[in-house]
């Protein structure tokens, strides 16, 4: 309908915004944006926020800062790891956000945030002023948490916990591993990105081993005593991969404290060495660097926010969404980031109009597969309360155990549908 008009109008806005930074007073030529929003990070959180800000209010000028030309998703990267999908299938473009929604995409990294003067520093030396800032940087690896694990070690012991090259590297290592080898996964303490992810990874690697290298084993050394959807995973392992996967919890000395890459050995808390033919360290994590550098994180390494709006409780006019924020009972994952972004976007629109935020509702929808035809899910509905974001009692939870094969196959098909829908919603519509 009014799309071409709003696109033209946005082109004018973007120009006036850019010019204002340099000369200061071109607003007379172009209609001024009612508000300028800058978004840092074009993943599930940031890209969703960009789209819904523009849909909810075309008079808001939105600039998305994302260094990568294309976004490679973490969801379904375990499938790529074992050859069930190609990396191209996980690669998302920003064209629709730019052309249909009039989001100004700047393929640069944000390097600084000045929350007092409301200015973002960009890697190319320019600056962007904002009325509201959305910070959606995802996670970073806590390099200091495991002795010997650093930027130089990740080629030999990949984390593959950010999608892309690390996933392909780990895939090549698994392909090169001889039959009868041991694949070791070091699983992190909570909270971390994608709670069921390490266990889905173990499952899909077992699926690959079962066909290609049936004498091989998988050892999970865990910094926790329980994990997400544990019963469902263990049921799946018993049904499909009997004797292939061993899980060592924290209380049985599962926490890895040191890596010895030259010897392909991990050392756990009480000094026990564990040798692997291929080793995947999924390290402890915290909020992305830009958020921590800007002082948006507290002592936990994550960013506290208002549960109604996702505005930082540390810096005003800055909203932190996605894996980087502390969202109470919500898990760190793509779907959570997607619903947080919608709440934050509408809260920002209301704030620019001097209106209170709408009453939020949050959803999390996480699918895991143990094999291509064996899936399950954990669903939760959340509310903002005085105690933060809590899950609604009596709702949500994991898939029922002891379901039949048809039920598991249906959930695996829905896992595929989940990916198709959420990526379509964010990047292609």
């Amino acid at each position: 309908m009014a799309l071409p008009l709003s696109r033209r109008r946005f082109a004018g806005l973007a120009m006036s915004t850019a010019a204002a930074g340099v000369v200061g007073a071109c607003a007379a030529i172009d209609p001024p944006a009612r508000a300028r929003v800058v978004i840092i990070g074009g993943g599930f959180g940031g890209a969703t926020a960009a789209k819904y800000l523009r849909l909810a209010d075309p008079d808001i000028a939105v600039t998305l800062l994302e260094p990568n030309r294309r976004f490679i998703t973490c969801p379904f990267s375990n499938h790529v790891l074992v050859g069930l999908r190609r990396m191209e299938d996980l690669t998302q473009e920003y064209t629709t956000l730019a052309e249909r929604h009039g989001v100004r995409i700047v393929h640069q990294a944000a390097v600084s945030i000045d929350p007092v003067n409301r200015v973002v520093g960009v890697a190319d030396g320019t600056t962007l002023g904002y009325d509201r800032l959305v910070v959606s940087p995802g996670i970073d690896i806590r390099w200091s948490a495991i002795d010997g694990y650093n930027e130089n070690t990740v080629q030999r012991l990949p984390h593959a916990w950010k999608s892309g090259d690390q996933v392909l590297l780990l895939r090549r290592q698994l392909e090169a591993m001889p039959d009868g080898g041991v694949f070791v996964i070091s699983a992190p303490p909570a909270p971390y990105r994608c709670p069921p992810g390490p266990y889905e990874r173990a499952s899909l690697v077992a699926h690959y081993f079962k066909r290609a290298k049936p004498r091989s084993k998988i050892l999970i050394l865990d910094a926790k005593d329980q994990f997400s959807e544990q019963g469902l995973f263990e049921d799946g392992w018993n049904a499909l991969y009997q004797g292939m996967i061993e899980w060592v919890p924290l209380s049985q000395d599962g926490r890895v404290t040191e890596v010895k890459p030259a010897e392909m050995t991990l050392v756990s808390e009480f000094g026990e060495p564990h040798k692997g033919d291929v080793i995947n360290i999924i390290p402890p994590q915290y909020a992305g660097k830009i958020a921590r550098d800007a002082g948006l994180a507290n002592q936990t390494g994550w960013c506290p926010v208002d549960p109604l709006t996702f505005e930082s409780t540390i810096h005003k006019n800055v909203h932190v969404i996605g894996d980087a924020c502390i969202a109470g009972a919500m898990p760190k994952g793509a779907f959570a980031a997607n619903t947080q972004a919608k709440v934050a976007a509408l809260a920002i629109v209301n704030a620019t109009r001097g209106q209170p935020p709408a009453t939020p509702t949050y959803l999390s929808s996480c699918y895991s597969v143990v094999a291509p035809d064996y899936g399950f899910s954990v669903m939760d509905v959340f509310r903002a309360t005085a105690q933060g974001i809590v899950s609604v009692p009596g709702a949500g939870g994991g898939s029922r155990r002891n379901a039949d094969a048809a039920f598991r196959a249906q959930e695996a098909r829905y896992a595929d549908g989940w990916y198709a829908s959420i990526t379509e919603e964010i990047w292609r519509s």
Partner: protein, 95 residues
């Protein structure tokens, strides 16, 4: 303070003081059912349905009268007013 405590302790969604915003309710659905309820994959689309049919289906899921993989778990998170509001929002805006 009292209100906050009541909110936090409310045993069921029916007794909550504030219902969620209808737009945010419907946008929650889009993550799985696709943009404006147009699902490109295996999950059923939601566009083009009447408010009555959406609300009835949600209530049937909530009461476990209709078998489901996930919708029973999700529908239990919303009260009657919210189910009606999201059904009306979807019927009105998802064409």
């Amino acid at each position: 303070m009292l209100l906050a405590a009541a909110l936090a302790l409310s045993p069921s969604p029916e007794t909550r003081a504030q219902n969620a915003d209808p737009r945010l309710l419907s946008l929650s659905c889009a993550g799985c059912h696709g943009p404006s309820g147009h699902s490109p994959g295996t999950i059923p689309s939601l566009y083009g349905r009447t408010a009555g049919s959406i609300a009835d289906t949600m209530r049937a899921f909530r009461a476990d009268r209709l078998p489901s993989t996930v919708m029973g778990r999700i529908a239990k998170g919303y009260n009657d007013a919210e189910i009606d509001a999201l059904a009306q929002e979807i019927a009105a805006s998802w064409k």
